[in-house]
Symmetry: C2
Subunit: 249 residues, 2 copies
């Protein structure tokens, strides 16, 4: 087992709709640690969404009755509530000022993952990418074309958790790696068969990257080097617990 | 922002009740990267519990009716179910073969965090430490005495999550660091005030350490170096969401 390094990718400029994110991330990689096979490039959702134009002007949003009532009762912005409801495929909780929803890809997040901070103007909100796994796959392809390195890519977003305070980063997009490591039946180091444990590798990577990625320090991407993973076709959709197996909806 | 390194602490022998865990971890630190101020030493729950004697022989456990019925219905071990119920202060779900409980310290986990894998005999189960924050504080003290370094210590356990498949490591004990980073009102790198975001730093650290800690490779502890945190008196209890604020019980 080797040391794993979480390397900040610095110098990435502010990303706007239409920015060539893969180009900027590639430049930052070139300027720092280079790229090797089995590296993992981790990018925060915010810049992916912005580059893909998933930015909405709130003044263009027409809140409907449900959003208006909730916003009024809990002193929220009705346009933001409306957007969150539009992005949701399921409302898990809409109470006490909290709006917890599932998105089309199955991610559960407050306000459908819509983000208002760090916007160029206060009238803008950023939605999650339409398909964050496709975003990861596309970035992976671009990096391979440029560097010839076979890496994995993880797109992250910070979500709250039940039962615990604070947020950490989760994988909402992944490409090039098996996101779940299944220990079932494996032999441990003392020769005994391990109990069935499945580790959410891509979520580990996301949370680790969160230690170095920083909204307020302008580091929207990091390189994870030295982590042993299996290359594979899985994506972050594989991390979503099927609704029928979920005890906490 | 610097590179963060997750360094495996190798060569720690099998830990048994009464083992001097701090001594063994210190030896592994000496043999690898040494110890510096602001390092974080991360240790998995299993070895902490074993060193503290939190090991139970299942043949000594007398299952009561509730445990017997559940075990029979779902083909579980009645003694393990009984232990989990004894360790629980609240049962969140007891259905479909799943037993999700809260422990006295407020952690929510399957089977009250009781673990059967990796046992020296198949008749043993390991309970969570009685006070995993005290375990972290005690290890921190011992490391300071030996190395003179002001570090943080995090004790981790792997828990499942609602909505997502797979487990990752969470902080169940912490000492020497602020476990929550409150962004409220902070200025971001473009000069704007950030929205209120609280990051669960100690859970980030736990998940990151989980990339390198490995049950089946005999690495029960790692060193996290280069992570910027604020020293402080908080502990993992500060990560527990108060029951009244929890939407998902």
């Amino acid at each position: 087992m080797k040391t794993v390094s979480i390397i900040p990718l610095t110098g990435i400029p502010a990303i706007e709709p239409g920015s060539d994110l893969a180009q900027h991330i590639g430049d930052a990689i070139t300027a720092s640690a280079g790229l090797r096979d089995r590296d993992i490039v981790v990018v925060c959702q915010k810049v992916v969404s912005k580059a893909e134009g998933r930015v909405v002007r709130l003044r263009d949003v027409e809140p409907r009755e449900k959003a208006l009532a909730f916003a009024k009762k809990y002193e929220k912005e009705a346009t933001l509530v409306e957007l969150a409801l539009q992005e949701a495929t399921e409302v898990l909780r809409m109470t006490d000022g909290h709006l917890i929803t599932a998105t089309a890809k199955g991610f559960v997040a407050a306000n459908s993952g819509i983000d208002r901070s760090n916007q160029a103007t206060s009238d803008e909100a950023t939605l999650l990418p339409l398909d964050s796994d496709a975003s990861a796959a596309q970035l992976r392809k671009r990096l391979f074309e440029r560097f010839g390195a076979d890496v994995a890519v993880v797109v992250t977003d910070t979500f709250g958790r039940p039962w615990r305070l604070g947020q950490i980063d989760f994988a909402i997009g992944a490409a090039g790696m098996k996101v779940l490591d299944d220990h079932a039946g494996r032999i441990d180091w003392t020769g005994r068969v391990l109990e069935h444990t499945v580790i959410a590798l891509a979520d580990q990577v996301a949370a680790a990257a969160g230690m170095v990625m920083s909204k307020d320090r302008g580091i929207p991407a990091v390189l994870v080097r030295g982590f042993h993973y299996e290359p594979g076709e899985e994506n972050a959709g594989n991390l979503v617990r099927p609704r029928a197996q979920d005890l906490f909806r």
